[in-house]
Symmetry: C2
Subunit: 254 residues, 2 copies
DNA sequence: GAGTCCATTTCGTAC
DNA sequence: GTACGAAGTGGACTC
């Protein structure tokens, strides 16, 4: 682990430091006054101001102002960093192809430039994801409803893989869509696509709602949305389609 | 504009610098070896390693490794930063409420700590957004189809606001959904919701497909998806619903 | 505050 | 590489 750092460098000095850092594969942090322009999937321009530029050895570039979680400008990993002194400014440019994109940062002043060779853990252990919710349901199917039997996860269909496929106490097929947090109407649409695909595949009535043409009490394929909660509009759409909502968190309440 | 910077500070020195920086409302960049833990909407742990910690005066906190565009851990704007020395380590903690979330970074070593008072332009001019696509269509409606007349943007419906509402050459209502880039099946679902809502509102046949029960050639409300391109599955769903796709970019080709 | 939807979404994974 | 869906999505805007 090594850190190099220069305070108020000349553009020439900053250029040397940058090129060395690129060479070493360092993570770079640069404070300075700059303009930024981007051209690629969209196009943008940013006038002069003080910002933090972060350059990563994997090609990622981030321009941060003093506000917001999102960088005001950036370039994705896989880009190539180049630095040069042009027209009295330090120009740092990150480019990539497919899609063709380019980010250009022009520093009128570099106030602080640091670079660190980075080692060590990159792997995060995360809890509370949709996968945790699936695990929870597979271990305790009765949380969905008494008699529920999961049969398959990521079951393929013409509409894509459904989160959990199973049957209820009556043997009726159930498509379960999992969401780790409160959901809106889009999730119902997603569930509807899977149910529809399965109904077509099984050659059963694809009428929405709780009754089919034969007068049975339930549609031949049920849809269940498992999520902590749903919005009003989502609840309406669930009712329209004859689907059920089961309120469940990815991790048990404390 | 002022930059303060310390190299290999003791935890005590780093603590002073951090507290001064918080006081001044500076943007902070810190290189060091640390562990990170998060608890809130989910929960996560990250073992020891070299990282870059960015602390913003608006409360945002970002932990970056040497890879990826996304921070490996973060805290949203509106959080509060606190620093302390605990158990021989420098502990930086960002917390917020609603939802309750907390990010804790524990440095065994701080290698470089810089802080800059930030001023200047924060406003980005961006081109190529969905709004640009809408503008383009409103100025040249024939790009959608000859005879198309836009009547309203963001027209309300029970399914939410539709991007553009208008009529075709025959006076048939058209719902236009705009996407700035290639789309999958979800966009078709979105369009379908709006068309469905409008059909209900107008009290017309809500049968999917190109023919209605009276034997007319077109449904009483048409759906048009304007996007640079669509995936195969999206195209299928468009055909199922009897909707049209118009290939159009948010900005004219060069 | 909640709901809804866009985003240069990013990111992972399967095909 | 493309497609599809999850994400601690973030962020803007409306109600």
């Amino acid at each position: 682990m090594t850190v190099t750092s220069v305070h108020d460098p000349s553009h020439r000095e900053a250029l040397w430091e940058l090129e060395d850092a690129f060479e070493r594969g360092d993570l770079v942090s640069a404070f300075g006054t700059c303009t930024v322009s981007y051209e690629g999937r969209a196009a943008s321009d940013l006038g002069p101001g003080d910002r933090l530029l972060v350059l990563k050895p994997d090609g990622a570039a981030l321009v941060h102002t003093d506000e917001g979680r999102k960088p005001v400008n950036w370039q994705p990993p896989g880009s190539e960093h180049h630095a040069a002194v042009r027209e009295g400014r330090l120009r740092v440019r990150s480019t990539r192809s497919n899609p063709d994109e380019s980010l250009t940062v022009r520093f009128s002043d570099v106030h602080q430039l640091s670079a660190m060779s980075v080692t060590g853990g990159r792997d995060l252990t995360l809890h509370g994801s949709e996968e945790d919710l699936r695990t929870r349901i597979l271990e305790r199917p009765e949380l969905v409803e008494p008699g529920f039997e999961p049969r398959e996860t990521e079951r393929p269909s013409s509409a894509g893989p459904m989160d959990v496929f199973g049957v209820d106490a009556d043997g009726t097929p159930i498509v379960v869509e999992l969401k780790r947090r409160r959901v809106g109407p889009d999730a119902v649409g997603q569930l509807a696509r899977y149910v529809r695909a399965l109904r077509e595949e099984l050659g059963v009535d694809d009428t929405a709602g709780g009754d089919d043409a034969d007068g049975d009490d339930a549609p031949a394929v049920r849809g269940v949305l498992v999520a902590p909660s749903v919005t009003d509009r989502a609840a309406e759409r669930l009712a329209d389609r004859g689907f059920d909502h089961v309120a469940l968190d990815p991790t048990p309440e404390e």
